[in-house]
Symmetry: C2
Subunit: 204 residues, 2 copies
């Protein structure tokens, strides 16, 4: 019960955006057509172009339209460190934090027996080739702190165990700014188990 | 500082959507490319097609790709009533409420001396032609309860005053479900001024 079949179709198509329900999709459709047709045309063009051209980096598997992504091309990065993440979005979160200067490898997924996702989809042949050829000394397992992420980290740790490479995992504990009251038991128990000595610096 | 120039461009382009900030745009871009490329392709196609084909209804000026919109084509609508709204979104809101069965006329804007928007952009020649040719008995002014909407309603009431047509305005008052505590003084004062007799139906 909308304005016209084509506008209906546009509203439906906008629903593919994450977090966009029927009301927002309707508002977006009318806004694009009525207020910002030039910007909307640019969006249609760029989206079409990105879908046609964006593929995966041949070294780290992140999303990029270039053969080798910006990070894998860089000579400023620490070649002895490689951080394994589940998705390009995870890689981007680490990059935007500005705290990491090593290499990446993107699994483009995780292990999930329930969803039938096994190790064959994680690109491990590609990772193996990099470990064989590059001067990597440490692999940081940065999969998500979820059931699937932990299972994947376990699997990778085992898969890496026969190599002379240090394997580390991101720490678990209290998120900065979080309140104990609202944290789940799993997080609290990991934070407690991982507690460390507290040093008091007194001013003279 | 994103994954690649083209993905950067896509994130920027998604910012034209209302309510989408840099973080959501980034999440949307990666989601479209990684998870739902087929739906994203459909979105790019439909958006391009809608921009090329959607124009305005020749009778009511709403957005549609058809010469005459669904409502103006319908023979079920009350031809004696015409409701004047500012935008196609306003028309859609009334339609979706299911409470109105007359005709519409969409101003595609409002009067705003500050923004330099005068009556010439409101399509009044078109409205005049309809009033001359159609059996319209009542014009409902349903512009927004804003400064510009009220100014526009005032102007239209005057513009219509020499005709033998009833001119009405949507009632102002308490929104259903609203709490007095959170309503502005203007709304409260209109609600008080428009108060009506309260009838008590007692059961025997
Ligand atoms: Zn790369
Ligand atoms: Zn129409």
């Amino acid at each position: 019960m909308h304005l016209s079949p084509l506008i209906d179709e546009l509203i439906q198509a906008l629903r593919c955006l994450p977090g966009v329900g029927p009301k927002s999709a309707q508002r977006m459709a009318l806004h694009l057509l009525e207020r910002t047709p030039d910007a909307a045309q640019r969006l249609a063009d760029v989206l079409g172009r990105a879908l046609a051209e964006v593929g995966h980096c041949s070294a780290c598997r992140t999303l990029t339209e270039e053969p080798l992504c910006r990070i894998c091309r860089s000579e400023q990065r620490d070649a002895s460190l490689i951080c394994i993440v589940e998705t390009p979005a995870d890689m981007l979160a680490l990059e935007q934090s500005g705290i990491y200067a090593g290499q990446y490898f993107v699994l483009l997924g995780h292990l999930s027996p329930l969803e039938g996702l096994g190790p064959e989809s994680l690109g491990l042949d590609q990772l193996q080739a990099r470990l064989d050829q590059e001067p990597i000394e440490e692999v940081i397992l940065a999969t998500n702190p979820t059931l699937e992420g932990e299972t994947t980290a376990q699997y990778l740790a085992e898969w890496l165990s026969h190599r002379d490479i240090q394997v580390t995992r991101l720490a678990h504990g209290l998120p900065v700014g979080g309140e104990l009251e609202y944290l789940d038991g799993g997080t609290l128990s990991r934070a407690l188990a991982g507690r460390s000595g507290f040093s008091i610096h007194q001013e003279k």
